[in-house]
Symmetry: C2
Amino acid sequence: MNMSAARDVPGEPERLVVIGADAAGMSAASQARRLKSAGELEIVAFERGHFTSFSACGIPYWVGGDVPDRDQLIARTAEEHRARDIDLRMRTEVMEIDVAGGRVRARDVDSGAESWTSYDKLVIATGARPIRPDMPGADAPGVHGVQTLDDGQALIDTLTRTRGRRAVVVGAGYIGVEMAEALINRGYEVTVVNRGSEPMSTLDADMGRMVHEAMEGLGITMVNDAEVTKILTGEDGRVRAVATEDAEYPADVVVLGIGVRPETTLARAAGLPLGEHGGLLTDLAMRVRGHENIWAGGDCVEVLDLVSGRERHIALGTHANKHGQVIGTNAAGGYATFPGVVGTAVSKVCDLEIARTGLREKDARRAGLRYVTATIESTSRAGYYPSASPMTVKVLAERRTGRLLGVQIVGREGAGKRVDIAAVALTAGMTVEQMTYLDLGYAPPFSPVWDPVLVAARKAVKAVGQPT
Amino acid sequence: MNMSAARDVPGEPERLVVIGADAAGMSAASQARRLKSAGELEIVAFERGHFTSFSACGIPYWVGGDVPDRDQLIARTAEEHRARDIDLRMRTEVMEIDVAGGRVRARDVDSGAESWTSYDKLVIATGARPIRPDMPGADAPGVHGVQTLDDGQALIDTLTRTRGRRAVVVGAGYIGVEMAEALINRGYEVTVVNRGSEPMSTLDADMGRMVHEAMEGLGITMVNDAEVTKILTGEDGRVRAVATEDAEYPADVVVLGIGVRPETTLARAAGLPLGEHGGLLTDLAMRVRGHENIWAGGDCVEVLDLVSGRERHIALGTHANKHGQVIGTNAAGGYATFPGVVGTAVSKVCDLEIARTGLREKDARRAGLRYVTATIESTSRAGYYPSASPMTVKVLAERRTGRLLGVQIVGREGAGKRVDIAAVALTAGMTVEQMTYLDLGYAPPFSPVWDPVLVAARKAVKAVGQPT
């Protein structure tokens, strides 16, 4: 085992070590490099996988055929990072963080060789790991996660080789519904097995019901309230069905889309502070709490939810990039903060758009808030304009104060990104009455004269005004 | 001339008189009726035209053929209003407001009969009138405005009868570019003659330049820096060309899209307060300043621009509806206020989307603000996602404070309504740095990992940070 040069050598540049070379880690490295030259700051990044800076969110569209080439999902290659004076070590897994010694122990995945690297500043961007059900058959050939590009390639290989056309998706969150679309696009008969009462448990069940109906309209078989108990294999050892307590669903391929957890094994072993969701806890500058020279961001941290005032875990590339930006600025001696999230998410299944921001009813109750709800139907464009499509908007507002708490939208083209109106209003702490008079873009091809989000806000104003 | 019953008769309902039965007037009437029954509040509305509650914004799409039937543009017919106990008198023009006497003099357009009607409460919603150039030939057959449904019908009749296929549009604002699209859709060769240096003077010229190029790409001939001096007619008296100082543009049909002014002839004669743009001045409850029982809204009023702190005139159906809502609530004894606008507008020419909110550079200078600008290119969806289309976003931010001052967007599908993000941020008084971390909806089919508006905000942050 080699030792790197001890740090704090006069005249030598400081060294920034980054663990994990995906969105958060490499955004941090790139931003630090923008602010400090190689003569001022050495940057070493370790990545255990084959790829760097890739869009995990794009995997369903690659599998589904919308994105023809894997390399399109790679925002910046290892070579591109190296050309910017970032010492990126691929296929090199960090095995240990020695916080007291200010160093990390890394292992070459292929050769097994290990070495210590000292750091002045450390960025932990270890991402998330998919939840793999602990059940018989979960590792059988034909059962796939879709977390990494390697996962995506393995699934595509299976889909290419497999003759059968029956797919079962386990889980009906974002990954589950996006993979259902991908498999429909590839000509599969798709069954989605879902533990919850409706798909998209990130929505209230009344809105999830609309997603359920739309998915069935697309020919997807939705099985709700069903816990997968085991994955059954055939004589060849390959998957042949997914079993719940009540039934068996034949499957030539199974995709696991049950969600992810923060990957904080290293951080936990190093005694760094973790929150109730298992993610690293940071301050607003994305510094690990209690550690002056360690930052963390991306899917391995918990973030402050500005509406509930509590920490959440949200694995989403857009947050990871922002965290990286903040970390890179601070690690290079600048100043930036990440204020928190309001919990915005948008997705689609074929032409159905699904969006949410803020709190669901159960989130509001859990946060101790009393609320009213209002749900309305409207259209994406003026009703008389061609291809105006229906959308449903649900608003939650706090009782008495009328403060906006959350918005959920289900509709067709033009529905999803309308959630941004509510995301900004939530960030600003607006009431639904203030929202009612927002000066939003209006012209018949773009919106009815009252934007659907405002129609919902108006209805919520009335509900707020009623006696509790 | 008949006199209506004197007001303030004990036991009789109050009377609300509305002048103008389009968006603002009938929204006010409808909202007042929702809150007060006919036994409590009598509502009389006068409309000099043939139609009520129609979408003037929809006329270009009716002329262009996207909306097949005129009646689709009528949100609510006279009969529907009457069914809700609103005494709507069509083809009846109010000729005078007697403020001291609390009454209006109205004239039956067809019979010429006049009568006075007393009011307890008055709503002025007289709208706007198109600017008609004071030049020879402006009233010739074949020259059309597009302000009312009657205007639209007359234009369609001309287009149906005319054999020639050359159209000239005078003016390159919203109406001008939308009419250019409508005429292209009907197979015309379209020339747009524009007084400004670029089309869409509601944008800065650098953004207008992109609209110019896109319009030329659609086969529209753009003539900038050109003042129309006269409209030339043939031996049959019909239009045959549009003349500027430098050139003549042959025309079988001419559409005037030069803009509108507040229609405040009645208000001016009655001594009501008008602003520098000729619109009525109101308080935040949409009450005419200095008049307890008179409200005004829609295209005949000036509105407070929340960014510049000054009054503006904006003729837009979405504001008119909101004004009506506020007026109806207040006139019925409730309480509501219209806080002002940030100047959001969105439009399209074929597949080019054009949006703006807040201040242009010249607005900022006029308001005494020092500012920085940042312009970026991005895409509507993740770059690798099919049909990701380019868009340009320009941001203005105040020097030193970094407060957002305005956003302009030109792009294809998915560009226009992104302006809402900025509209809400402007309303909330956010800085561009605060915007950078907005939690907007992200998924590859909806947005790059940094939404284009945030990319522009980030660039503006850097500009704000530079020495002035």
